[in-house]
Symmetry: C2
Subunit: 201 residues, 2 copies
């Protein structure tokens, strides 16, 4: 997800090809999971949108444009991918601001904190300060398990840094397992509802 | 604002230079206003963030990447600016989702609806459907006047289309005049408070 994921499907349609494969076989190959996690989140958000459940949008990957050729309309001839200074996803659910980052790891035992740039922690702290709902979706690709973790817990761990990675046991304790399926692929919204709208239950 | 505004300051620092000029003279030249509107909104949002009032972020301009050279790390060698399919700004204020588009016109009498792509109308309808706060900031550059208009009003006008542009009289009737100043440049937040949080007043 750190790599220019928003652009990838336009460079090569691997993501879509894999998605089609999966749709046919109904299986999710662990090896493809890391690559496909973002595509799956996007599909999930499209499903939620279609069902009128929430509006979550992926932020475009920021690109630093160095030179543009205006000969036949503006064409970028030199540019670099920039690191997202916020998170990949935000949007609205029942009027509330939602903000989250989706990360994938191939580790079977822990999630390395080095995957989270400091500016994302800072951004999520600001979201919480302003009353927004903030979390991570962490994909343990080889385990075929995705967890929703409140940003508060990860920020606290990040700051205390008892370890350089989040142990899976800690993730299981603090997080909620996301139900995986065909449509939606990663059904995280019921967890948002139960975790962040507790008064309604 | 439709043109790759997020990128402009990196192509040439005109925006910043103008901002500095203005800071020195304390005056806003009408001729620079269209170009500087986005920069002014960004400054305003930075001010609000610094003061802990809200968190509003400009979405990066989406770019369709055609080819990348990986010889010395990924360098984009061919790409095109895409039209923002949503709006330029979103964020969180007191837990609520905020979404708006900032547009500038050089007309002294009306705001042409052709400046609003249909997908922005569709996006703002979805924001409203999910309980978000949605509006436009419209800059009449030559009048030195900026108005906040609730998205609902503009969507209704856009759909009925009694005219192809919003007359200034209509804008004055439906909208609220934004207080202009040095810091913040465009003080729209008090209008958000009074329009969308009326129960507190």
């Amino acid at each position: 997800m750190n790599y220019p994921g928003g652009i990838k499907p336009k460079l090569a349609e691997d993501g879509n090809v894999n998605a089609k494969k999966k749709a046919k076989t109904g299986k999710i190959k662990p090896g493809n999971r890391g690559m496909d996690f973002e595509a799956g989140i996007n599909e999930t958000n499209a499903y939620y949108l279609e069902k009128g459940l929430c509006l979550i949008i992926k932020r475009p990957t920021p690109i630093n444009v160095v030179s543009v050729d205006y000969t036949h309309g503006p064409k970028i001839t030199s540019a670099y991918f920039e690191t997202q200074s916020t998170t990949d996803y935000n949007g609205v659910y029942k009027g509330h601001y939602i903000d989250f980052e989706a990360k994938s790891t191939h580790s079977k035992t822990s999630f390395p904190l080095s995957n989270i740039p400091p500016q994302q922690i800072e951004h999520l702290e600001r979201v919480l300060l302003h009353g927004g709902i903030a979390f991570f979706l962490i994909d343990f690709a080889l385990l075929n398990e995705v967890y929703l973790l409140p940003a508060e817990d990860i920020i606290a761990f990040y700051k205390e840094k008892p370890r350089s990675s989040l142990p899976l046991s800690w993730v299981k304790e603090k997080g909620k397992l996301v139900k995986l399926g065909y449509r939606p692929r990663y059904d995280y919204l019921p967890l948002v509802e139960s975790l962040f709208f507790p008064s309604l239950h």
